[in-house]
């Protein structure tokens, strides 16, 4: 009995507290920068697509909602020919972002993705690729990779010796 009265009293007190709910959508939710919402594909500092089509996000995804196909340009730079996320399956766990070795795929603070038709929740690369580096500015995967994919010549990357002269036997 006493506990019932105590509970009702506490509820009553809440009437005078500051409201936690907001008048969404008139009023927008403040999200933290690391909030894991809408997924985007970002670009590197030179404006190139960051995604190298490595399939790691796809394999990390617990609900298997990422599908892509890698392809290459003439210089040997890999990029996704198509990149599809089925948001009607995504659970916004952020594993894809964690798996991504190039910072290409990022979850950003935005959850306004509701659709009336489920089919409209299937996003293609055009819907995902943004013109920004997102949360991780400055990183360009091909500058630190060993490959020459048109971004840097062999041996000119960070911490790389110039290519070996294979005709020399000198130490």
């Amino acid at each position: 009995m006493l506990s019932h009265i105590r509970t009702m009293w506490l509820v009553f007190l809440h009437l005078f507290r500051k409201k936690a709910t907001i008048e969404y959508p008139e009023e927008k939710v403040k999200l933290h920068p690391r909030y894991k919402g809408r997924i985007v594909l970002t670009r590197d500092p030179d404006g190139g697509e960051r995604c190298v089509g490595c399939y790691l996000c796809a394999v990390a995804c617990p609900v298997d909602c990422i599908a892509l196909q890698a392809t290459e340009d003439e210089q040997g730079r890999r990029y996704p020919e198509f990149f599809r996320i089925n948001f009607s399956r995504c659970i916004f766990c952020g594993y894809c972002e964690e798996a991504c070795p190039t910072y290409a795929i990022q979850l950003i603070p935005d959850f306004e993705m509701a659709e009336y038709r489920r089919q409209d929740l299937v996003f293609e690369k055009e819907d995902l690729l943004i013109n920004s580096q997102g949360k991780y500015p400055g990183y360009n995967y091909y500058k630190v990779a060993g490959m020459d994919a048109g971004v840097k010549a062999k041996g000119t990357g960070k911490n790389e010796d110039p290519p070996v002269d294979i005709h020399s036997l000198l130490p």
Binding site: D64, A70, R84, L121, M147, K154, D161
Partner: protein, 893 residues
């Protein structure tokens, strides 16, 4: 069996092995790089360290490379010893100091032995903050991509390429930590076995360039065990699919067939499956709308086939099932082989010999373990590439076993054995019409006209068996060597004789038989192999159906006959005029095939059939081994189904392969055993089917979401105990249905170790395939005595012979861009003397006249060709079918 003590537990291991293979055979995870079951140990990578103790009292022990240490009774070792573990981890860490940050863009990733070993040793964080060594890459041709930064200097590539495949254009350059694995200059790798580099190299230095063009990770492929459709050896392969396309072919181990390696035609010849040129829609031509639905098609065909005036043409590249279903539909007397009379005749000779049970039909493993080999009149380098590779291994191994007998040296100690063996080789005699890369290894090699090769064979047999008439004294110089060859064969314990039908000469087949039978009568463990042209040539020949020309005669007698052609291009087996004549005599023509070709153009009714990748079926290889291949994926287009299913649908039969097999066994006793070649469709392990997809197959809920957001129901398979999903039994299934190799911690192809009884040995539970041609317990035989006349050149006429090209002669494989790029242009080869006599030089246009038709070809001078022979490439798309084995006129234009 010695007992060794590993981490204080006793294990029985096989004698004569090294510690590494013994540990792996016991199921221990021990990292390694440079050792390979087919190549032995060199101790180059220092990755396989374990601690070995002197005796029970020894507590300090010493680090040794397990791949270089033989098994000894009572030996005590530790894998988990902290010093050994730390050593292995440090080795990886050193290797990694130079390894590029490439995994995301490296095609090896996800099936990389280096990744696996790095994880296995526990190295996970780069401490070395200094610079990495870099290299320039080389262009190595259309098959292999080179990314040299990733090298860990294990030497496997050059050891495979030079020691195993006999290639000369890949080598190691520079010195110390600058060593470089590549060619002297950029350029196409010359060995037709170069594709194996992609599997041999434990890193991403050498990768499959055709896979790169539509790259998919190993974990994303839907796979099934299959059989290579490009030659008669029937190498076992895995085919992997993604998004409705075959993406790559990898080796499926079978210790009795292909072992660890494939040829480039087999590995890269898959692109026809994805070709634009595929037939995808059933057509009834001459209607307002050609394209018809399945119901319309079946109704039309049932009507057409109802009247009884019908024949069926089987095919050497169609499965046993398709040929049988056709035979059933048209009636056994109305079924013909889709090969010309000459081929059918030669193949009949082969099946007669092998079915008599007089001789053992050799498997490739038998050839590998032989100690003397005679190749009589077959260019196996081009017509049976993996057999040529096997012959090479056999010749080397014979020499090695002689070496290790002299001093006690374990046979796996590769460098030491090779050093000691030097240039010594086991015995190989190679007789052919044109030279072969095998000649380099051969003790005797002979180039002669087919009849002379046959005479030589008869003479060898006569040397071996005194009951045979010897050659007359005044024979040409060729037969001088027969005595030596006969002697070498008679000294062997297990000689192997290889021949085939590509020289278009029956006497050669008989001569090969005579030699083998003579050896058998001497008590030798002899075996014989006949190479045939196509993947199911043996399966078709075993039906004993009459040849194509017989069908032609039949059509002349009965007009308006409906002809059903199952997966054969008539224009590839008959000269143009005869093919035209054939079609002009047919009533309605029904063609089932995979790709559009000239025959499909003539079809009134055209039916798409599944390739090896979309269909279930079996091929019989040249040895007489029935091997099952499985549907890799279910194509979206349900018109693309197996030939046999279409034929069963027309005939109202059933579409279960297991029931069909029972019927085949009832109808054709020569295929007895086909129902046991693989587990039945209802086979389950703990109630589960075996998944075609790895357990980390990705994108399941997105890959088709653009079409329909709800995932499609997985396709059901009624014909195999395999599922088209990632769910199912995760352990090791029976060998015949293994869809890919994977074991915990082993993502690369090296997971194969876990599927074998011992590394390099049989697959657990036995290799797949059922042999239908077996040696009888009490063989009885006779010699052939009809030796042909010696060859003599004729004035103004030449004996026309085919030259098969590994890359180029295959009908299907030429759809692959890389293979087409490397295939030769048409040519006509003559001997130097003949060319000079006609005042012609290399490149001169020569005109070959055949039955009133003239074919112009550029001249190539073949130094070693016998005068009076003319050789042209066979099977090139640009080449007409010529009457090989007949005499033609040639003039210079």
């Amino acid at each position: 069996m010695p007992t060794i003590r590993i981490d204080d537990k006793d294990y029985e291991v096989r004698d004569g092995k090294n510690l590494l293979e013994s540990c792996l055979a016991l199921g221990f995870d021990l990292p390694y790089f440079c050792w390979h079951p087919a190549m032995g140990s060199v101790g180059a990578c220092r990755q396989c360290a374990v601690k070995v103790f002197k005796d029970e009292q020894d507590t300090r022990g010493r680090l040794v490379m397990s791949c270089m240490e033989p098994v000894k009774e009572g030996l005590r070792l530790s894998i988990v010893d902290p010093a050994a573990k730390a050593f292995r981890e440090q080795v990886i860490e050193w290797l990694m100091t130079n390894h590029p940050h490439d995994c995301p863009v490296c095609d090896e990733g996800g099936s990389c032995h280096l990744q696996d070993m790095t994880v296995m040793t526990g190295h996970d964080y780069r401490r070395y903050q200094y610079r990495k060594r870099t290299y320039q890459n080389q262009y190595l041709g259309p098959f292999i991509h080179h990314e040299m930064n990733r090298c860990i200097q294990c030497y496997r590539c050059v050891r495979f390429y030079r020691d195993i495949a006999g290639g000369e254009d890949l080598n190691v350059y520079a010195a110390h930590d600058h060593i470089y694995f590549g060619r002297e200059k950029e350029g196409v790798l010359q060995s037709p076995f170069s594709g194996n580099l992609a599997e041999i190299c434990p890193t991403g230095v050498f990768t499959d360039k055709t896979l790169k063009a539509h790259y998919t990770r190993k974990w994303d492929l839907t796979n099934a065990g299959s059989v290579c459709p490009h030659c008669s050896l029937g190498c076992n392969i895995f085919a992997g699919e993604r998004y409705g396309e075959i993406r790559c072919i990898t080796n499926r181990f079978n210790s009795e067939v292909n072992g660890y390696f494939l040829c480039d035609k087999g590995r890269f010849g898959y692109e026809f499956v994805n070709s634009e040129n595929r037939i995808r829609q059933p057509l009834i031509r001459g209607r307002l709308v050609d394209a018809v639905s399945e119901d319309q098609l079946l109704e039309y065909l049932r009507h057409l086939t109802g009247n009884g005036n019908i024949i069926g043409i089987g095919s050497p590249r169609a499965s046993v099932e398709t040929n049988f279903s056709l035979m059933q539909l048209v009636g056994i007397d109305n079924f013909y082989q889709g090969v010309n009379e000459d081929t059918a005749f030669l193949q009949k000779r082969v099946t007669d010999i092998l079915e008599s049970g007089t001789l053992r039909s050799n498997s490739l493993r038998d050839i590998e373990s032989s100690d003397a080999i005679l190749v009589l009149g077959e260019d196996i380098w081009n017509t049976a590439p993996i057999m040529a590779l096997t012959v090479r291994q056999s010749v080397m191994k014979t020499a090695f076993s002689q070496t290790v007998q002299q001093i006690s040296l374990p046979s796996w100690n590769d460098i030491a054995v090779r050093e000691l063996t030097q240039e010594a080789r086991g015995y190989l005699a190679n007789a052919g019409t044109s030279g072969s890369p095998l000649d380099k290894l051969a003790t005797h090699h002979v180039q002669a006209a087919p009849d002379d090769i046959a005479r030589m064979g008869y003479a060898i047999a006569a040397h071996l068996d005194p009951s045979l008439p010897p050659l007359s004294k005044q024979e040409n110089e060729l037969t001088a060597r027969t005595g030596e060859i006969a002697l070498a064969l008679s000294l062997a314990r297990k000689p192997a004789i290889i021949s085939g039908i590509s020289a278009c000469n029956e006497a050669i087949l008989k001569a090969a038989y005579n030699i083998a039978w003579a050896l058998k009568r001497m008590g030798k463990e002899v075996g014989i192999s006949y190479v045939l042209p196509e993947c199911n040539s043996m399966g078709l020949a075993l039906t004993k159906a009459p040849s194509f020309e017989k069908a032609l005669g039949r059509l002349e007698r009965n007009t308006g006959t409906t002809v059903i052609v199952a997966e054969q291009d008539i224009y590839r087996c008959l000269p143009e005029e005869q093919a035209e004549m054939f079609f002009s005599k047919c009533g309605k023509i029904v063609v089932l095939d995979v790709l559009h070709n000239r025959t499909t153009e003539r079809a009134h009714v055209l039916i798409p059939s599944a390739s090896f990748a979309e269909g279930d079926g079996s091929f019989v290889n040249n040895e007489g081994r029935i091997q099952r291949f499985y549907k890799v994926y279910a194509p979206e287009n349900n018109n693309v189904i197996e030939g046999w299913k279409w034929l069963e649908r027309i005939g109202g039969g059933n579409e279960r392969i297991d029931q069909l097999h029972t019927m085949i066994e009832k109808g054709l006793s020569q295929f007895a055993g086909i129902s046991t070649e693989a587990p039945a469709a209802g086979f389950r392990i703990h109630g589960e089917a075996v998944p075609r997809e790895p357990h980390r197959y990705s994108g399941r809920t997105a890959m088709w979401a653009h079409l329909q957001v709800s995932e499609p129901k997985p396709h059901q398979d009624n014909n195999a105990p395999l599922s088209f999903t990632m769910e199912g039994y995760k352990g090791i299934p029976p060998a015949a249905i293994i869809p890919f190799y994977w074991a915990p911690g082993w993502n690369s192809v090296q997971a194969l170790n876990k599927y074998q009884e011992i590394p390099g040995g049989k697959l657990t539970g036995g290799n797949p395939g059922v042999r239908v041609l077996n040696e009888s317990a009490e063989p009885r035989g006779d010699f052939f005595t009809d030796m042909p006349e010696a060859f003599s050149a004729r004035r103004g006429r030449w004996l026309l012979l085919p030259a098969y090209h590994l890359l180029g002669s295959g009908e299907m494989s030429m759809e692959s861009r890389g293979i087409a790029e490397l295939s030769p242009e048409p040519y006509l080869a003559l001997s130097m003397q003949d060319a000079v006599a006609m005042n012609a030089t290399t490149g001169s246009t020569m005109v070959v006249q055949i039955m009133g038709k003239a074919y112009s070809l550029p001249l190539k001078i073949a130094e070693t060709l016998t005068d009076g022979l003319a050789v042209v490439p066979a099977g090139l798309p640009a080449m007409p079918v010529l009457p090989f084995g007949s005499w033609v006129e040639i003039v210079k234009k």
